[in-house]
């Protein structure tokens, strides 16, 4: 099997990437693997490599051929393909679909676990509380416990107001 970059030497390094439901294989010779940084298995180089060869096609397909552009910073898919970096925090929303598969292959999970900024933590706690109260309310209504339901409704009103306040600050 020949190296898919130089198409000259025998491929000795084989990589498989699964993005979404598609499997992509990359076969490289020792030298190309080295220049692409595969032997130094950092997330960086691997991402760049995959971006250059496989993921870029996925990204283009996800956009239906039309160039997606970040409304806030003007960053495009082509820029992403070239740099392997994004333009601004908003880009994560703009390119969410294309990034999903990439994040899945790069990381342990697709949801953040760990530290949350304090300001964010308050509103996350509040929204969790709100959900819990709403659940309790439907249960109370179901059980025709209207006294409890009235109390819960007031509590929900308060929690919702606080949530909008935190979000606003």
């Amino acid at each position: 099997m020949l190296c898919c970059i130089c198409k000259e030497k025998e491929a000795t390094v084989h990589l498989t990437q699964i993005a979404g439901d598609k499997m992509q294989k990359v076969d490289l010779c020792e030298e190309c693997a080295k220049t692409k940084g595969v032997n130094d298995p950092t997330g960086f180089s691997l991402a760049d490599l995959l971006l250059g060869l496989g993921a870029s096609q996925e990204i283009e397909q996800a956009g239906g051929g039309a160039e997606i552009k970040c409304a806030r910073c003007g960053f495009t898919q082509a820029d992403f393909k070239k740099a392997g970096r994004l333009g601004c925090p908003e880009c994560y929303k703009t390119f969410a679909e294309a990034l999903e598969g990439l994040l899945k292959t790069m990381h342990k999970g697709t949801r953040h676990v760990g530290k949350v900024p304090e300001s964010m933590r308050q509103s996350l706690d509040l929204s969790d509380r709100l959900k819990l109260l709403q659940k309790k309310l439907s249960k109370a209504v179901e059980e025709e416990d209207f006294e409890a339901a009235a109390l819960l409704r007031d509590e929900i009103k308060q929690a919702a107001a606080r949530l909008t306040n935190t979000a606003a600050t």
């Binding site: 940084g37 130094d40 298995p41 950092t42 997330g43 960086f44 180089s45 991402a47 910073c73 960053f75 820029d79 740099a83 392997g84 970096r85 994004l86 333009g87 601004c88 925090p89 994560y92 990034l99 990439l102 994040l103 790069m106 990381h107 342990k108 999970g109 697709t110 949801r111 953040h112 676990v113 760990g114 530290k115 949350v116 900024p117 304090e118 300001s119 964010m120 996350l124």
Partner: protein, 333 residues
Amino acid sequence: MDIHDFLIPPAESARRKGPHDRIVMSSRVRLARNLKEAAFPGWAKKPERIRLLEMIRPAIESLPEMKEAFSATMDNLSTLDKQILVERHLISREHAAKSAGSGLVLNREETLCFMINEEDHLRMQALRPGLQLRQAWTAIDQADSALERKLEYAFNPEVGYLTACPTNIGTGIRVSAMLHLPGLVLAEQINPIIQSVNKLGLAVRGLYGEGTEALGNVFQVSNQMTLGESEGAIVERLEKVLAQIIEHEENARGTLLEKKPKMVYNHIGRAYGILANAHSISSKETMNLLSLMRLGVDVNLFPGVDRALVDEMFILTQPAHLQKQHSEKLSAG
């Protein structure tokens, strides 16, 4: 202030002690953070980078732990100064290449260092001698929590802290330790160890990180994945793997001394011979020979010699440090 007047003399910094410092030279925890309303440094135009720098730098300077810190913009540091900071592992090679619009704030003890507008708006790291990942994490976590009250970070509840490169998203954390592993290299066991560490999702790199050679048998082990695992879990996982590497290194040294003492003494003796008598030597060869000297001290071949002396030489014999000493001597003479 001149960076040279600020930096701790190598003789002093090499003397800092930490748990397992026979094998673990240092521990480091780095966090990547970005501001909500701005383009990442690689995409932002120069005026915007300057605006951000002017916003972030005072916020860092005002932290209580950054009292009497060294603070500079990268265009105010000479190439040699930046290189010296790289050789001290205080900034990355990438950051050394930056100029106007990027900056650096370093605390008095050289245990906390903030790079502004490197790949992300903020790259902050805590450093400790020996194996002290937990302590380093606690220190940087505290600084980060204090900064979070002054700066509005780009954070998304689903995917965490947003970073320029998707490889750092989530916790934005890189936990790493610098290991001296001459035993595993001499026993030719280093490659299988690197491979098995890689399989655990951890990266093994050379002395200066990303894509660098393992000069002087020094290797950096760090986490690669930042999303889907908490900071504490990452620190714990690394601690477990490092404990095993330490054990393997100790075993390799023990077995070598028991089964092939002549081979080990020969390597160390020759290293000493060359270092003592050579008239000209490259930095690279020096590093590799100093590594053997460090091993020599560890196995009591040089009674009365402190390991700190070898570690000081490790710092002083690097290219920029040599250049600096040389030019100073010339101007003094």
